[in-house]
């Protein structure tokens, strides 16, 4: 679709970045992406983020772990019942520990997987729209739209005096 393209602006200041985003949003741009050297909640507010679904992954993972822990310990004990120290074949107090550890383990792993899935990591192919300075000191705003609307976007972005403003090919 050659009638659509992207614009990437790098800013030195946080407020200019946020203003740019706000303005773009007001102008009705949909596909806005922001870059920052650290998690910046102002930007997230500007883009209007809600709750991250990562927590669901964590919860499910944790519960699976608990279940697995109890199932494993109990079933193996019954499968070949051997008496030790005159204790019950299935002694729950001891198995709680196993269940607990597995809860944590599964929970943690699920969280990571969730994160990767949601934030499309790992993405090995080199970024088309990126500025190494984003990991150092600069903020970035990238917007996509049809050619005619991009002119509008370019003006809005320029208002905030970007250090650099360039055409970027369409990102993924």
């Amino acid at each position: 679709m050659d009638n659509a393209a992207g614009l990437l602006a790098s800013y030195e200041y946080l407020d200019s970045t946020v203003d740019a985003i706000k303005a773009l949003k007001k102008a009705g741009f949909e596909k806005i992406k922001a870059y920052a050297p650290y998690p910046e909640h102002h930007i997230e507010h500007a883009l209007g983020y809600g709750q991250s679904p990562v927590r669901v992954w964590t919860l499910v993972g944790g519960l699976t772990g608990t279940a697995t822990g109890f199932a494993l310990t109990t079933w193996t004990s019954i499968d070949w019942p051997l008496v030790v120290g005159g204790k019950p074949i299935v002694s729950i107090p001891a198995y709680i520990i196993i269940a607990f550890e597995m809860t944590i383990l599964f929970g943690a792993l699920a969280t990571i997987i969730g994160l990767f899935v949601l934030s499309r990591l790992p993405s090995i192919k080199p970024p088309v729209v990126y500025d190494p300075e984003f990991s150092s000191g600069r903020y970035g705003v990238y917007v996509e739209g049809s050619r005619q609307r991009l002119e509008e976007a370019r003006q809005i972005m320029n208002e905030q005096q970007p250090i650099e403003l360039r055409e970027g090919e369409l990102d993924d």
């Binding site: 946080l14 650290y38 910046e40 499968d79 944590i104 969280t111 994160l115 300075e133 150092s136």
Partner: protein
Amino acid sequence: MSLVPEGPTARGAVPHPDVHTYDEVNRDVLRALETPGKGWWALLAVAAAGVVLFFSAWGWQLYKGIGVSGLNSPVGWGVYITTFVFWVGIAHSGTLISAILFLFRSPWRQSIYRAAEAMTVFAVMTAGLFPLIHVGRLWHAYWLIPYPNSRFLWPNFKSPLVWDVFAITTYFTVSATFFYLGAIPDIAAARDRATGLRKKLYQVISLGWRGTDSQWHHFGKAYIFLAALATPLVLSVHSVVSWDFAMAIVPGWHATIFAPYFVAGAIFSGVAMVITLVVPIRKIFGLEAYLTTKHFDAMAKLCLLTSLIVLYAYLSEFFLAWYSGEEIERTAFWNRLFGDYWWATWTMLVCNGFVPIMLWFRRIRHSIPALFVISIFINIGMWFERYVIVVTSLHHEYEPFAWGIYRPSLTEMALMVGSFCWFGFWFLLFTRLLPPIAIAELKEVLPAPTRKKTGEAY
């Protein structure tokens, strides 16, 4: 909800008065990754030599049999288990500083937690070797892992040792993940400045991180949950380790206080070890601006607190032994103080109970050399604490006729010393390959650059 409370100045004092711009942070921190100096190579050589010693000693033991140790009956556990518990303990403060302080939003966390977490990971890697070293038939040790096998046999989940297997492996996995996750944005930063082979490497391990809004968004959530999971884990792992002893009926082991006692001890030794490690890093890489006395002061206070808990545990152990009226228990603890191993016990008491008292003084807390020395004392003391618990309890048990004496052998010493080199080896590599200080998070507590200097506060 945001990662930092209302701006950097929320907790009053600015943690890094001498750091101003984000670029500065990148420059200073990433400088550590540049070509190392002679000192580093020298240290690495020493560590490598130690690793060789470590594995040759282990090989020798495997070839001859566990008998090359000084272990005997009644003392079936000795230096190996002592060192195991020691390293597990060390492993603790890493995740603690990282996770708990993160949840509590402690402002002095950012600049030390990366090193602390690295310490955790490597310490667990070291600790994990010792149960393997100390078993009689290493080639069957995998029987402790539950897996479907043609014998229809499973491990005994009632045994604290199996709990250990689960606790330690979980702890290693989670803290390694936590460590890596936190490092990803900084690796990306390193990537953007590195060249050549390093760039390739970082490209891969940064997983193509670009710091986009959505990435940061999910990253933050995931990080919080990991921290939330890691915190109880930290507490559980050393409790489980303590139950290796508390679940037994050996006088001197069989005590309900053990779990909290061990956790406190672990944090104590862990923080001490962090100080021991961070002091040189700060000096060598010139990170004074990032590791300020404020940080050391905070860590010293944490040391002081935990040392008090540990001392309390010691005293209450002795008191309860006396108060219980249980003759065998009394004898056991009397024997600790004045028996064959009195020297170990007193070393422990002095290093862990009395030396840290100096930390009450502000001047000492603010003198980095002093802290360095004290931290080393604490490390020694904590090793001896485990030695006392393991050995003195075992060598005088219920049956007087079966009492015995244990003398560590050279092989055991070699493995103990070697383990420090093994740990050091990995830590040295870390200092050169990963940003030793959390770049991204540090920026969170720096004032964000704004155009409207007098504009609304961000």
